[in-house]
Symmetry: C2
Subunit: 206 residues, 2 copies
């Protein structure tokens, strides 16, 4: 939808093939995710249903697809930081948070752990997008594997255009701290891998 | 994807709004189906998973999306009846068959009933498309609620273009008979509603 010609350093699907093919591949992969989650032995059937519901909710109108619709409607519009945050929580954050919680379901976590993991997922989800906005203006296309400066060219509101570069960097650091605090609040015995993932989301250069 | 301006007598979504909106509505409604199937109490959790797997399989690359890809690739190409049948079994038939089997799952049918319902669903799924191809050339747009003659104009292979109108009508009647035979083979006590549905699929005028 952003009509970018590059992803991960390779031509995007609609450029390599055509738009209908790209659409059908997207539809097919989305249903494949649900098919795998429903047909592979993952845990108890009730847990599998919970995982499917989390993914579906995060992908749909109240998650990724809804956030993308807000994004398209917001192009060329001034947005407040709250509106921008709402958009990104849906568009990118919901699916990242869901990926944390889908894993959590399998461990039957205590309410305190679930709540902490939920906050952790929300924080890294938003941090990912803030960092994305920063990298869009600070990195070259070769490093990103997608066209740099595209959001700015498209007149799209981003954390950098709304807050400025320095404030966007501070926001990323705050979200990183929120994620680490949330992990400690889970009282889970081993959260090292999740803590490293939060570092990676914020420190990444592409 | 067929760029038609009418569905059910109303402007299509991409005409009334725009293409990105139509895409996002499609993505959202597809995930909503899985969200509802996973989060509503329908039957035993194991049955719900089976229902989700049926829908996902019928919607994806081996079903509707794959059939649509074959359809796009086939425009302007000569197809044999076997190739045409394979395309339609995926594009339309798979989802109609799945809708029958999703209901069947809830009743824990015996193998004989399941097999008969599966053949019934397959027959009415293909019959629906054969009749669609016939109506496309015999009905006016006002009756259809979508643009008539569109497949012919787009140089798409259809049952009418491959077999001719009379043979296409005979094919629809054969599939109707196959569906009714399959229903009897289920040995289920009451298949009246399903038999009427098969009549309706073949007798419909829009």
């Amino acid at each position: 939808m952003d009509d970018d010609v590059l992803r991960r350093g390779r031509p995007t699907c609609h450029v390599e093939f055509d738009e209908p093919t790209a659409l059908l591949v997207g539809d097919s992969l989305q249903t494949l995710a649900f098919e795998l989650l429903a047909s592979q032995p993952i845990g108890e059937p009730k847990q599998q249903l919970e995982i499917i519901a989390l993914l579906a909710h995060a992908s749909g109108s109240r998650g990724m697809a809804g956030g993308q619709a807000i994004d398209l409607a917001a192009t060329g519009q001034p947005l407040s930081e709250t509106q921008l945050q709402d958009m990104h929580r849906r568009k990118t954050g919901a699916l990242l948070q869901a990926s944390v919680l889908m894993g959590a379901v399998c461990g039957n976590p205590a309410p305190q752990a679930w709540e902490g993991l939920s906050r952790y997922g929300s924080a890294i989800g938003l941090a990912f997008q803030v960092v994305d906005d920063i990298l869009d203006v600070t990195q070259a296309s070769e490093t990103l594997g997608k066209t740099a400066g595209k959001d700015l060219d498209a007149n799209k509101p981003t954390y950098v255009s709304v807050l400025g570069l320095d404030a966007a960097r501070r926001r990323a650091a705050e979200l990183h701290e929120l994620a680490q605090t949330a992990l400690r609040d889970t009282a889970l015995p081993d959260t090292v891998a999740l803590a490293m993932l939060a570092d990676r989301v914020v420190d990444r250069e592409s």
